[in-house]
């Protein structure tokens, strides 16, 4: 009898107490407090950015540029490997260790083919196509710790990385994307909201055509026959047994590749994706079909 009253009473009390919410919890002990950027008399004069110049305006010059001086890296008369350095393609690296970490923390879905879009979507890869970034360079750090069967598409990979992925029963492809396609892959939502048809991927420039057509680099333009030969050759070189793809339960996933003209998995050039209506519009005009198939 008494205990029931107590429960009733305590329940009433509990109901009248405020609920736990973001507004009434304390920060974790030792959590970081950022200094406030004030606008007042003293706390808000330069905001720690210094007085005048690049520092204050936060418009830093490009690396090595000395405001019109003969730059140091050009002062020596013959350094041919610096020629055109500011026009060259860059491939920001991501290591196998990081990829493994992304997989382990469920930021990448390995039941689907992985490409640059899914890695950018993980939020842990900084990628700026407007700064001449042309995609992912998969590096071999953590090569011994890597243990996942994946179908991955990157833009640059070393032999060791290829061996590490194939040893675990995975598949790797190196593929070229022109900058416009990279913008699309970086932020597909933004592109779909412009209501344009998906464009075609352009062909690689002449200086990398060898890379993307060679079977030992697993180029996307290489002959699949030769690629399977190279897979075997690499397994013999590094001394591991090549897992059989044909008997794999994810055989279909591992065999999935993009067309050389295709940008997104499952979406063909010429299609319009509408996110609001959740529909895909496909062209039926002969001329359009011909254009997007060329």
């Amino acid at each position: 009898m008494g205990s029931r009253q107590i429960t009733e009473k305590s329940l009433v009390m509990l109901r009248s107490l405020p609920r736990l919410s973001l507004a009434n919890i304390r920060d974790n002990p030792g959590s970081k407090h950022y200094p406030k950027r004030g606008r007042g008399q003293h706390s808000g004069d330069k905001h720690g950015a210094g007085n005048k110049g690049s520092g204050q305006r936060q418009n830093y010059m490009r690396l090595g540029y000395e405001t019109g001086n003969n730059p140091f890296y050009l002062r020596m008369p013959h350094e041919p490997y610096y020629r055109g350095h500011h026009h060259r393609r860059e491939y920001p690296p991501i290591s196998l260790l990081e990829i493994q970490k992304l997989i382990d923390t469920n930021r990448i879905d390995i039941t689907k083919p992985i490409d640059i879009a899914s890695i950018v979507k993980s939020g842990l890869y900084r990628f700026f196509p407007d700064q001449k970034h042309f995609g992912i360079n998969l590096t071999d750090e953590g090569v011994d710790l890597f243990a996942t069967k994946i179908n991955i598409e990157v833009q640059w990979a070393s032999e060791l990385v290829i061996a590490a992925i194939e040893k675990n029963g995975g598949v790797i492809t190196t593929a070229y994307y022109d900058p416009h396609s990279l913008f699309l892959l970086k932020n597909p939502k933004k592109f779909f909201e412009t209501g344009q048809a998906i464009p075609r991927r352009m062909i690689p420039p002449p200086d990398v055509i060898e890379y993307y057509t060679s079977a030992e680099k697993r180029g996307y333009l290489a002959d699949p026959e030769k690629i399977s030969q190279e897979r075997l050759r690499l397994s013999q070189k590094y001394g591991y047994e090549l897992p059989k793809l044909e008997t794999d339960q994810y055989f279909n996933m591992l065999c999935e590749r993009k067309d050389p003209r295709q940008i997104f998995y499952g979406l063909e050039p010429g299609w319009v994706v509408n996110l609001k209506d959740k529909c895909i519009l496909k062209p039926r005009d002969e001329e359009l079909l011909q254009f997007y198939a060329s």
Binding site: R15, S16, L17, P18, R19, F192, E193, T194, G195, Q196, A197, M202, I203, P206, I209, E210, T213, L221, G270, V272, N274, L275, K276, D277, L281, P283, D285, E287, L288, F291
Partner: protein, 247 residues
């Protein structure tokens, strides 16, 4: 026409405002359906209520934006007449935007322009570019091989050339040494002639040296002549012998 509306959704805002301050869970209402009449009068009243409920003070366009609707139904500026803007409206608001989706694809003219651009930007096919790259690689390989052969032939001759050079240097050094010794000998002789050490810059010394040199040259010449004569005699003798043998 009559519409079925769930009472819960109509009164939900009212109920929530009543229950906002209390912490107890509002009792769950029954989801029974009621019939609401849909006359013009009623609609006008609803519109009035809706207008009065909108206390946001937002402009019509902003209010639309906030409620995920197209901001303007009527074009307000020139930009609203462009294809790009209309595509954007379709991409963002879908069919509800009222834009014809056929706008999303490029027109015939745009396709032509794109094709023209691509013909200039990518003049070669992948096969052609591949062949050109292979050709370039082959040429480079050939150049390297030729240079290798050139270097190899030169390295093969290197020992011989080194020997020749060393011989030449040694010969020159020997000549210089011989000339020096000869000069020293002459100076020594002159000194011995005078019987005491004389300054080599002295006039007498120089005179004597010249004289000695002359004598030396004369002697050498004579020796040469004698050697020549001897050779001649030897030759003649040999000839005589040959003649005698023949006869």
């Amino acid at each position: 026409m009559n519409i079925c509306v769930r009472t819960k959704f109509i009164r939900s805002s009212l109920v929530s405002s009543l229950h906002r301050l209390s912490t107890t869970v509002p009792e769950i209402e029954q989801n029974d359906q009621v019939l609401i009449d849909d006359t013009e009068e009623f609609q006008a009243r609803e519109a009035e209520v809706k207008k009065k409920r909108n206390k946001s003070r937002l402009s019509a366009a902003h209010f639309n934006l906030v409620n995920d609707r197209r901001p303007y139904e009527e074009p307000h500026c020139l930009a609203h007449l462009t294809v790009k803007y209309n595509r954007k409206m379709y991409g963002k608001y879908g069919v509800a935007s009222g834009v014809n989706p056929s706008l999303c694809w490029p027109s015939r003219k745009e396709i032509e322009e794109k094709k023209e651009y691509e013909a200039v930007a990518f003049p070669y096919t992948i096969r052609q570019v591949m062949d050109a790259a292979a050709e370039k690689r082959r040429e480079e390989q050939l150049r390297i091989e030729q240079r290798d052969i050139e270097v190899a032939t030169k390295v093969a001759k290197l020992e011989q050339w080194k020997k020749e050079l060393n011989d030449k240097v040694a010969k020159k050094a020997a000549e210089v040494q011989a000339a020096k010794q000869k000069k020293e000998r002459l100076v020594e002789e002159v000194r011995r002639h005078f019987g005491f050490t004389l300054d080599p810059r002295d006039e007498r010394f120089i005179e004597m040296l010249a004289k000695r040199e002359k004598e030396q040259k004369k002697l050498e010449k004579q020796a040469k002549m004698e050697a020549k004569e001897k050779m001649m005699i030897a030759k003649l003798q040999q000839k005589n012998v040959e003649l005698s043998e023949k006869s």
